[in-house]
Symmetry: C2
Subunit: 185 residues, 2 copies
């Protein structure tokens, strides 16, 4: 088993943080081997950000993601740029408040940033809503492990806010899955 996830968007959206949270949830609490990576090159100067998580039952010799099982896109540019790296049956999840042109109809569209602002009054928890949705849709991490990992990495004053963001993400993941299923009939 090897599972490759890429979390992409703009700098400042907290994609590195949710990469670390996902890696710690699966690596420390679920007991798998995980490598979590950020790469900086010319594109980083343009504010683009991507964070990768590779999960395996075995030792990971090659820690770069090349054929993605899961791709999260928090802006249009990352969706345009990375969609081709997604496997045929890979999971594409986009922030539909920021990504308006999707390359396929096999896509989970959730307005993470809009929900973070409207439901919680804090745009910066859009990333935590997204990681909740990822857990629900992909089943790659246990919800309890994810909650533990989130609470370990966020400031104590924001624990309740982040727990709410996770629940919204999980609930929205369910909704998006149901609506994608319907559209397939």
């Amino acid at each position: 088993m090897r599972y490759e996830a890429r979390l992409s968007g703009s700098g400042g959206q907290g994609l590195i943080l949710i990469g670390i949270i996902l890696a710690e949830a699966v690596g420390i609490y679920d007991g798998k081997n995980v490598v979590q990576t950020q790469s900086y090159g010319p594109e980083a100067r343009g504010g683009a950000s991507k964070s990768e998580v590779i999960i395996s039952d075995e030792t990971i010799y090659y820690p770069k993601a090349t054929r993605l099982d899961l791709l999260l896109c928090m802006n249009q540019k990352s969706c345009d740029e990375y969609y081709l790296d997604l496997k045929k049956d890979g999971i594409l999840i986009v922030d539909s408040s920021l990504v308006h042109q999707v390359p396929t109809n096999q896509v989970y569209q959730i307005p993470f940033t809009h929900l973070a602002k409207e439901e919680l009054g804090k745009a910066f928890v859009a990333n935590i809503i997204a990681i909740g949705a990822i857990a629900e849709i992909s089943k790659v991490v246990k919800e309890s492990s994810l909650t533990e990992a989130v609470l370990k990495r966020v400031p104590p004053w924001s624990a309740e806010l982040n727990k709410k963001a996770l629940s919204i993400g999980i609930e929205q993941g369910k909704k998006a899955a149901a609506s994608l299923k319907l559209s397939r009939i």
Copy 2:
């Protein structure tokens, strides 16, 4: 040019944060190619933590550190375990408040945790003192880039504290270098 650094110690010492800060300083502000990595395996369950930064002028195809140019050890266990991965002329820096047995006399010994507590009253900035010392000793990153990257990644209320921690690290790096030079005579 390829430069491999590993920052190691216990979970909770902020080694992932300083890995990201070093990577962003060099990758975004100094304009090099950088890959920054965390690996989680059986050892992560014991609370061990390591964060790696690979820097290159060219595209990085293999993002794992195998022959270290620089090793930071913030506890005894990481020093015992990783010293053999250091190149012959590689730089070894240890937190001498926590690492009491060193494997060589070619070592920069700085009491990061002690300094953080005594000089700044906050043990948690030991990691920022360490990254300051790393910059001074290794010259792998510009001081101005490092300061920018630190200020981007820490909460605004702690900007002054972190700037002081960086200066202490730089000053201590100079001292440790001078004392290592003396011991070589």
